[in-house]
């Protein structure tokens, strides 16, 4: 800067000669300075330069775009993925094995947690189950757990109540004549299989009605129409159910880890039993086939086929039974874990006993069947027919109805009635016919054409309009009703008709009068309308006058004529004078005299000033006013009384008011009538 100043000083002399050059130089210097500044601060402007811009800021901020690279990925560690084996259902033995890639880090944490779980549960089990065999299984299970499938916990099952044949016979037989045990069984199985997805259940519901003898439950396949197909279907179904059932039992076990080992033992015992039962069953079915040989000569081969499938079915049933008992066992364990081992043994014992019983029964029945051969054959034919009809007729609602009803009964009798009360109630509330109705409505709704939909929407809009109008009308009507219910004046008068009542009233009014007189200066809100009180007071005043008139008859005339002069000349204070006049009037003048002077007394506060009587008649809303005039015209009375005296005006006012209310009432009645006709037409349309 100093050099600049020196420069300036040096050049100052030259400037007189070479002003222009200096200017040029200066501009150059400035430019340089600006350039340097630019270089220094690329993005920013010089302050001086910025000031030159003036009040208008540049529309675009001058800012160089810097190239932005993508953010670098945070590469911390390489993640290890492992190829792991897993079984989707860890409870299933010899189930299908799958492999998938698993993040080792995630897996580790999961593993540790599961292992922790397992160790605790394992300990429980160890303490609870002291047999060595179970311990072994425990270790096997823990292996299984290691690669437990992550999403397995989502594979849950619904808790559909179950029943046994014995239970059915005892409790459920009389519930619905259209259903027998085997079909109910089938329904429950398929419901469980498809997790109560009713659409699917109804779709796959292909129950082959079986011939059922009176007492036995040895079921023989019927000669249904598509026997080959049916039998294959049945076998498929059965196999499905079978695997399902097995897996079910095991999954249930998985859900509650404590019960795992028990389930395993059950499964084992079941397997053993199955082997036994199969042998026995075959004998059984052989018997059956023999017995039915006469009737089904043409279907013999197929019968044997059916017998096999039937056998399999039986096994399924046994499985389910045992699984039921296993479930029971689990529940017990939850409650009292200590006694678990014992109950398991009991359950398995029960299971075997039950099966043995069944076989015995079967044998008995086969024997009986021979005896009642003819009758049975008749029955069976009937059954076949009715069964065939039923098969066609089972709708989704039928299935639901049956399942819910049976479930409700089972739950009711299970003892947990209080706990399941809500559930039972909801189950019982299922109404088949209602559902049919609902479905038909829905079908109808779906089948609507676009024009119908548009029509409906417009109707809805209309209805809303009506609602609004109706609301408004109701309010108006309520107001009118209130208006009509005003208290009747005539009833109150009756009380004062006796002399006793009159004197009472007199005393009351006298007191009221006194207190009112004292408070004449305080503003009293004007009473609305011609109320009864002032009128009666007037009467009372009259009475009073009548009494006093007798006493002062002589002095009255004189005073009356002189009263204006005497008052003008009196030196009394104005306030007293006013009161005096008032009192004077009250005491001295009869009604006739008051009429002569045109004086009337009133208690209510009135607007002071001069008015014209005819101009003080009531007025209404323009519409009503017009109608009132119309009505007056009809009855032959002019809109303005020809002699608007006080009495005439009073009556005229009443007349107009009653006319106005009549008009209002007419309007409301018409409204009501239209509304009623509307409702009626709606009802008719419905």
């Amino acid at each position: 800067m100093t050099s600049d100043i020196l420069d300036v000083l040096n050049i100052s002399e030259k400037t007189r000669v070479e002003g222009n050059e200096l200017k040029r130089k200066r501009s150059e210097q400035k430019e340089n300075a600006a350039n340097s500044a630019k270089r220094q601060r690329a993005g920013q402007m010089n302050r001086e330069l910025f000031n030159l811009i003036g009040p208008n800021l540049p529309p675009v901020s001058v800012k160089r775009n810097t190239i932005k690279f993508k953010e670098k990925l945070k590469l911390n560690k390489e993640v290890k993925w492992e190829w792991q084996a897993f079984t989707p259902r860890s409870g299933v033995k010899n189930g299908p094995k799958f492999h998938h890639w698993v993040k080792t880090t995630v897996n580790k944490s999961q593993n540790t947690s599961t292992e922790a779980d397992k160790s605790t549960s394992g300990q429980d089990n160890l303490t609870l189950n002291k047999s060595t065999t179970e311990k072994k299984e425990e270790s096997a299970e823990s292996d299984n757990l290691k690669n437990k499938y992550r999403f397995e916990k989502y594979n849950t099952k619904l808790a559909i109540p179950d029943f046994t044949k014995a239970y059915y016979d005892e409790n459920l037989k009389g519930l619905d004549e259209g259903w027998d045990y085997s079909e109910t069984r089938y329904l429950f199985d398929i419901a469980k299989l498809y997790d109560l997805r009713w659409a699917v259940i109804a779709d796959n519901y292909e129950y082959i009605p079986v011939k059922k003898t009176a007492d036995s439950e040895t079921n023989v396949p019927s000669d249904a129409v598509n026997e080959n197909k049916a039998s294959s279907n049945v076998t498929e179904e059965d196999s499905k159910i079978k695997t399902k059932e097995e897996s079910d039992t095991k999954e249930d076990d998985e859900a509650e880890k404590e019960a795992e080992t028990n389930a395993e033992t059950n499964a084992e015992t079941n397997a053993e039993k199955k082997a036994e039962t199969k042998v026995e069953r075959k004998e059984n079915t052989d018997d059956d086939t023999n017995t039915h040989a006469d009737e089904k000569q043409n279907d013999r081969t197929k019968v044997s086929d059916g017998g096999k499938t039937e056998n399999e079915k039986k096994q399924v049933k046994v499985d389910t039974d045992s699984s039921l008992s296993a479930q029971k066992g689990e529940e017990d364990q939850l409650l009292k874990a200590e006694s678990k081992g014992k109950t398991d043994i009991k359950d398995s014992d029960d299971g075997t006993k039950a099966q043995e019983k069944i076989f015995e029964k079967g044998k008995d029945s086969s024997r009986e069947m021979k005896q009642h051969d003819n009758t049975i054959s008749d029955k069976m034919q009937n059954n076949a027919n009715s069964d065939g009809d039923k098969l066609q007729g089972r709708t989704i609602e039928d299935l639901k109805d049956r399942l819910y009803k049976v479930s409700a009964v089972i739950l009711e009798k299970s003892g947990d009635e209080i706990k399941d009360a809500a559930l039972i109630r909801s189950l019982k509330s299922f109404n088949k016919n209602k559902e049919y109705e609902r479905r038909s409505y829905l079908e109808h709704l779906i089948e609507r054409t676009p024009t119908e939909i548009a029509e409906e929407e417009s109707l809805v809009v209309e209805a809303r309009k009506f609602e609004l109008a109706a609301k408004k009308m109701l309010i108006e009507r309520a107001q009118l009703l209130q208006l009509l219910d005003f208290p009747q004046a005539s009833s109150s008068v009756q009380k004062y008709m006796t002399s006793q009542g009159l004197t009472d009233l007199y005393n009351v009014l006298m007191n009221a009068d006194k207190s009112k007189k004292r408070k004449t200066e305080t503003p009293v809100p004007p009473e609305l309308g011609p109320s009864a009180l002032p009128h009666t007071q007037l009467m009372q005043v009259k009475q009073q006058e009548a009494q006093q008139r007798v006493n002062r008859k002589t002095s009255r005339r004189k005073k009356k004529s002189t009263s204006p002069e005497s008052h003008s000349g009196s030196s009394l204070p104005y306030d007293n004078e006013g009161m005096e006049i008032h009192n004077l009037l009250r005491s001295r003048l009869t009604q006739e005299q008051m009429d002569v002077y045109g004086i009337s007394l009133h208690e209510e506060k009135i607007q002071p000033g001069v008015i014209l009587r005819s101009q003080k008649l009531p007025s209404f809303k323009p519409m009503v006013q017009n109608k009132v005039f119309e009505m007056l015209n009809e009855v032959g009375i002019a809109a303005r009384p020809t002699m608007p005296t006080a009495r005439v005006c009073h009556k005229f006012e009443e007349l107009m008011k009653s006319m106005a209310s009549l008009i209002d009432l007419k309007k409301q009645t018409d409204n009501l009538r239209t509304e009623i006709s509307l409702i009626k037409s709606q009802r008719n349309a419905d």
């Binding site: 004086i599 009337s600 008015i611 014209l612 005296t645 009432l665 009538r673 009623i676």
Partner: protein, 223 residues
């Protein structure tokens, strides 16, 4: 009036009857137009404000101003002394505003009456329905007289004295001079009473009907 606070007597009101209206007679030889009146005037009429009993109104009325149609020269005609009448000629009917001023010592505001000047007799059926309708008395003479009551609510003391100086509010029971008698009042009351009775009957009928309908509506709604 100004500055002077007027004391009012509470609880009473005094009414004074007046009649107002007009007489009209067509122009004839007997009844010639005034010399300065326009030639097209057909009627000579008189507007007036009177006491029905023939008493002096000037005890409390100071001045009456008749506001004529604007086509008249000086349409606001002031009459300061009784009788409060205005004689004029014309050819058309119009509404006259009659403004009445009270004695200034009374401290009351003026009131305005409106009167439709009548020159022609009307058919009787119209007459019966219209108050103050013209009545033809003599040949060609038309009268249109209206009855009114001026009500002094809570009059000032001075006004009270003026008004009660003479008993004058009572109408005669029967009179040849004026149609506004007690009898006439009674008749009118009876007419109104009859009408009231009629309306009351209708009202009762309608109320019953209305309640019935309301009940029916409730019933329908509950169905």
């Amino acid at each position: 009036m100004a500055g002077q606070i007027q004391r009012r007597i509470h609880g009473i009101s005094i009414s004074k009857p007046i009649i107002y209206g007009n007489y009209a007679e067509p122009v004839s030889e007997k009844n010639p137009l005034p010399p300065n009146a326009p030639k097209d005037h057909t009627h000579i009429w008189t507007l007036f404000v009177k006491d029905p009993t023939g008493q002096d109104l000037s005890t409390y009325i100071k001045r009456v101003v008749f506001k004529l149609h604007e086509t008249y020269p000086n349409p606001n005609r002031t009459v300061d002394h009784p009788p409060f009448e205005l004689r004029e000629s014309g050819w058309g009917e119009f509404e006259v505003a009659i403004k009445i001023y009270f004695n200034s010592i009374c401290g009351e505001k003026s009131v305005t009456l409106y009167h439709n000047l009548k020159l022609h007799p009307y058919p009787p059926e119209v007459v019966s329905l219209n108050a103050g309708a013209p009545v033809t008395t003599k040949e060609g003479r038309v009268e249109s007289i209206l009855y009114e009551e001026i009500v002094f609510n809570e009059p000032t003391e001075k006004m009270f004295r003026l008004l009660t100086a003479k008993p004058g509010s009572l109408l005669p029971y029967r009179s040849e001079k004026t149609p506004f008698t007690k009898e006439h009042e009674r008749e009118e009351e009876d007419r109104i009473d009859q009408a009231k009775e009629l309306v009351r009957h209708q009202l009762e009928k309608r109320t019953a009907e209305f309640r019935e309908l309301e009940v029916e509506r409730q019933r329908l709604m509950q169905m």
